[in-house]
Subunit: 276 residues, 4 copies
C-alpha cells in the first residue's frame, strides 16, 4: 500500500479511524467556513472582529487548498474529480482569498465566497441519510412529476389573475405592471401575504378574496399528492409471493405464508446452497 493509497483511504473513505477523524475535521471546517460567510455580512461584527475573521479565513483556505491538492494527487483519474460537481465546488470555495490578493477589494468576491455554501451538500454526503430520511426522499421523488404539473397550473392561474389585478387596481395602487401583478398573485396564492402591495379598491378586494379562497382550496393538492404517496408505501410493503399458494402482500419480516403456512424462504435457501 503506497502513501497515495493511504491518503486516498483517509480522504475518500470512512472505514479507518484516520478516515473518520478527517471526515469530522472536514465537517467542522465546512461549518466554520459557512459561519464566516454568514457573520462576515453583518456589518458591525465585520468591523469589530476583522482580524479574527481574516485569520480564520486563512486557516480554512489553507486547509481547503491542501485537501484539494491531495484529492487530485491520490486519485487515479484526477480529471474526473476536477470536473465533477464536488470538484468544481471544492475549487471555487478555495480560491476567493487568493483572488483578493491579486485584485484588492473586489466587491464581487463575496458572491464567490457564497458558493462555499454549496459545500453543505457534502455534509449530506458525510452524515448519511437515516432510513427515515431516505424514505421521505423516495416519496418526494415519486411525487415530483405530479407536483410539477400542479406548480405549472399555479403559474398559469397566476398569469391570468395577475393580469386581472393589474387591470382592476392599476399602477396608482401599486400594481405597476403585469409582472408585479403576477408576483402579488403568487404571494397571495401561496398564503405568504407580505402586504407590500395589497388591493385598495372594493372590486380589487373582491377579486383578491376569490384568489385567496382558490389558494386555500388548492393548497390541498400538493399535500394530497405527497400524503397519498407516503401512505401507499405502508400498504404495499412487500412483493414476496408464496411458492405454494401464490398469496402475496406478506409482511416485511414474514417467514411463513399467512395463507397456507408454507416456508417463504425455502426456495431461496436451496438456491443459495447450490451456489456455495
Amino acid at each position: 500500500m503506497t502513501w497515495k493509497e493511504k491518503v486516498h483511504e483517509v480522504i475518500y473513505e470512512a472505514d479507518t479511524t484516520a478516515g473518520k477523524v478527517f471526515d469530522v475535521a472536514l465537517l467542522i471546517m465546512i461549518l466554520v467556513s459557512l459561519a464566516l460567510v454568514v457573520l462576515d455580512s453583518v456589518n458591525h461584527l465585520n468591523l469589530e472582529y476583522h482580524t479574527l475573521f481574516l485569520t480564520l479565513e486563512w486557516i480554512i483556505t489553507i486547509f481547503f487548498t491542501i485537501e484539494y491538492i491531495l484529492r487530485i494527487i491520490c486519485i487515479n483519474k484526477p480529471k474526473k474529480y476536477i470536473f465533477s460537481f464536488y470538484g468544481i465546488v471544492d475549487f471555487l470555495s478555495t480560491i476567493p482569498l487568493y483572488i483578493s490578493l491579486i485584485f484588492a477589494g473586489s466587491g464581487a468576491l463575496l458572491s464567490l465566497r457564497a458558493l462555499r455554501l454549496l459545500r453543505v451538500f457534502r455534509i449530506f454526503k458525510l452524515v448519511r441519510y437515516t432510513g427515515a430520511g431516505s424514505r421521505v426522499a423516495v416519496s418526494l421523488k415519486k411525487s415530483l412529476p405530479k407536483i410539477l404539473i400542479f406548480l405549472y397550473s399555479v403559474v398559469v392561474i397566476s398569469f391570468i389573475a395577475g393580469t386581472i389585478m393589474y387591470l382592476v387596481e392599476g399602477p396608482e395602487n401599486g400594481y405597476t405592471s403585469i409582472p408585479v401583478g403576477i408576483y402579488w398573485t403568487i404571494v397571495t396564492l401561496t398564503t405568504v401575504g407580505f402586504g407590500d402591495i395589497h388591493p385598495v379598491t372594493p372590486l380589487g378586494q373582491f377579486v383578491a378574496t376569490i384568489i385567496m379562497l382558490l389558494g386555500y382550496g388548492i393548497i390541498a393538492v400538493p399535500t394530497g399528492i405527497v400524503t397519498a404517496e407516503m401512505t401507499k408505501e405502508h400498504i404495499k410493503s412487500n412483493t414476496q409471493v408464496c411458492y405454494n399458494c401464490g398469496e402475496n402482500e406478506h409482511k416485511d419480516e414474514a417467514e411463513f405464508c399467512h395463507n397456507c403456512g408454507y416456508n417463504l424462504n425455502k426456495g431461496k435457501k436451496e438456491k443459495k446452497e447450490i451456489k456455495e
Copy 2:
C-alpha cells in the same frame, strides 16, 4: 385529398410532421404573444423597446389572422368553430391591433389584448396531460362538491366574523364597513395576512386570535378531502372482473364475486392446469 383537407390535417391534427411543426410554431407564437402582453405593461421596457414590441405584435397578429381564416375555410361547419370557446378566444386575441388602427390610442385596448392569455388553455390542449396529471385532475373533480360546500361554510363564517370585527374595531381602526371586515376575515382565515388592516384594540386582537385558530383548524378540511380521494385510488387497486356477472372493484383477497357468488379464480385455475 383536397388542399382544404390537407390544411385541416395540419391545423387541427398532430399526426403528420407538418401538423407537429405547426403545433410547435403555434405554441411559440402563443408564448411570445403572452410575453408581449406582460412585458408591454412594464413602463420602462415599453419606452425602450417600443419599435421591437410593435414589430413582434404585427408578426403575431398576421400569423393569428392567417391561422383564424384557415381554420374557418378548411372546416365543414365554420359556424360551430366560430362560436366555440376557442373560436371566440382566437378571434378576440387577433383583432386588438386592427382596432387600434381605427381608434388611435384607446386605453381599453390593453384589456382586450389581455384576453390573449386565454390562449394558454390551447397549450394545455397541445401538451396533453401526462398520466400523473390526469389522475390528479380526476381526484380534484371528485373532491369538488365537498370543497365547494367547505368554501360555502368559510364564506358564512366570514360574514359573521367580519360583522363582529366591524362592530368591535370600527371605522377608526380601518374596518370602514362590513364588506371590508369580511375581506379582512378571509385574508386572515386563509392565513394570507397582508397586514394592511389589522386589529388594534385588545378585544379585536382577542377575536382575531380565535379567527386565526379557527382558520388553522379548518385548513385541514380541504386537505383531508383531497388526500382521502387520492388515497382511495390506491386502496381500490384491484382490477379483477367477474367472469359471470362482469362486476369489478373486488377486494384484494376476494375468492368469490360479491355480486353473484361466482368463483372468481375458477377460470384462471383451469387455464393453469392446462398449461402444466
Copy 3:
C-alpha cells in the same frame, strides 16, 4: 284540516307547492336582509341609497313580523318555539326597526340588526346538506376532540413563546405586554403574519425563526387528524359479517361473501318474509 293546519304545513313543512314557494321566498328575504346589513355599513352607499334601503328594510321587517306571528299562532306549543334558538333569532331579527321608532338614532341598533346574520343558519336548514357535506361533517365531528387537544397545546405554546418574545423584544419594539406577545405568537404560529408587530432585534428574529419552524411543523397535526378520519371511512366501509364463514369487511354493495360465496342477505330476507 283547519286553516291553522294549512298554514302550519306551508310554514313548517316543504312537501306542498305552497310550502316550497314559501321556503324560496323566505330564502330570498333572508339574503336580501343580509345584503342590507352589509351594504348599509358602507358609508357612501348609505348616503346615496338611503330611501331605497329604508323601504326594503320596512318590507323585510313586515314580512318577518307576519312570519313570526303566524309561526306562533299555528303551532301547538308556542312557548317551545319562542324560546328555541330559531325563535329567539327570528324575534331579534324582526324588532330593530320598531326599536328605532321609539329610540330615534340609537347607535347600538346596528349591532342588533347584525344578529339577523344568524338567520343564515336557517338557510343551512332549508338547503339540506347533500351526502357529500354530511360525510365531511361526520369526519369533522369525530376529529373534534383531537383537534381541541391540539388547539389547547397551541395555546400553551403561545403563552410560553409570547412571554419569551415580550422579554426579548420589549415594549420599545411593539411587544407592549405579554397578551400582545401571545397575540403575535398566534399570528405567527398560524402562518397569518400581519406584520403589524414583528421582531427587530437579532435575538428576537432568531426566536421568531424557531417559532415559525415550529408552526410549520405542527400545521401538519390538524391535517393529519382530519385526513386519517376521512380515509378511515373508506377502509371500514361496512360492518356486515357472513353467516357462513364469519368473514367481514365486505364492500357496501356486496350481496355474496367474497370468501365463501354465501348469500349475505339471505338471513335478512327470511326475517322480512316472516314479518310480512
Copy 4:
C-alpha cells in the same frame, strides 16, 4: 399511617377526596399565577390594580411555599424531588417575591416570574391525556425523526436562499446581512410573510416567487409524514397474537402465523367445537 404518609397521599396522589380537592386547588392557583404574570405586564392594568395584584401575588407565593416545603418533608428521597424538573420549576416559581424584598425593584424579576409558566406542564400531568390525545402524541413521536430531517433540509435551503437574496437585493432594500436574509427566507418559506422586509427589485421578486412556490410545495412534506403515521394506525389494527411463537401484527386475513407457520385459528376453532 403517619401524618407524613397522609400528606404524601394528598399531595402526590389523587385517589382520595382530599387528594382531588388539593389537585383542583393547585390547578386554580397555577392558572391564577399565570393570569397574574400575563396581566401584570399590561401597563395600565398594573397601575390601576397594583394593590390587588400584589395581594394575590402574596397569597400564591405563600401557598406555593407551603406546598414546596410539604413536598420535601413528606417524601422519602427529598433530593430526588428537589433536583427533578418539577422540583426546580416549583422552587423557581416560588422565590421571585422573596427576592424582590431583598433587592427592591429589580427588573430581571419579571423574567424569573415568567418561569412560573412552566408550571403549565403540571396541568398536563393533572388533567391526564384522554385516549385521543395520547394517540396523537404517539403518532407525533413516531413522525419526529422524519420531521427533524425535513426541518434540517428547510434550514439548509434557507441558508442558500437567504444568501442569494442578500446578494440580489442588498442592504439598501432591507436585507442588511445574510442572517437577515435567512430570517426573511424562513418567514417566506413557512408562508408567514410579515412584510417588514420584502423584495423591491424585479430580480429579487422573481427569486422570491420561486422561494414561495418551493415553500408551497414542501409544506406538503410534514403533513404527509404525520398523516401517513396516523393512517398507518388504522390499517394495522389487527391484535391477533400467535399461540405458538407470540408474534403479533398479523395481516387481517392471515390464517397462519407469518413467523412460525402455526395455524392462527386452531385454538379458537377447538374452543368453538367444545362450545357447540
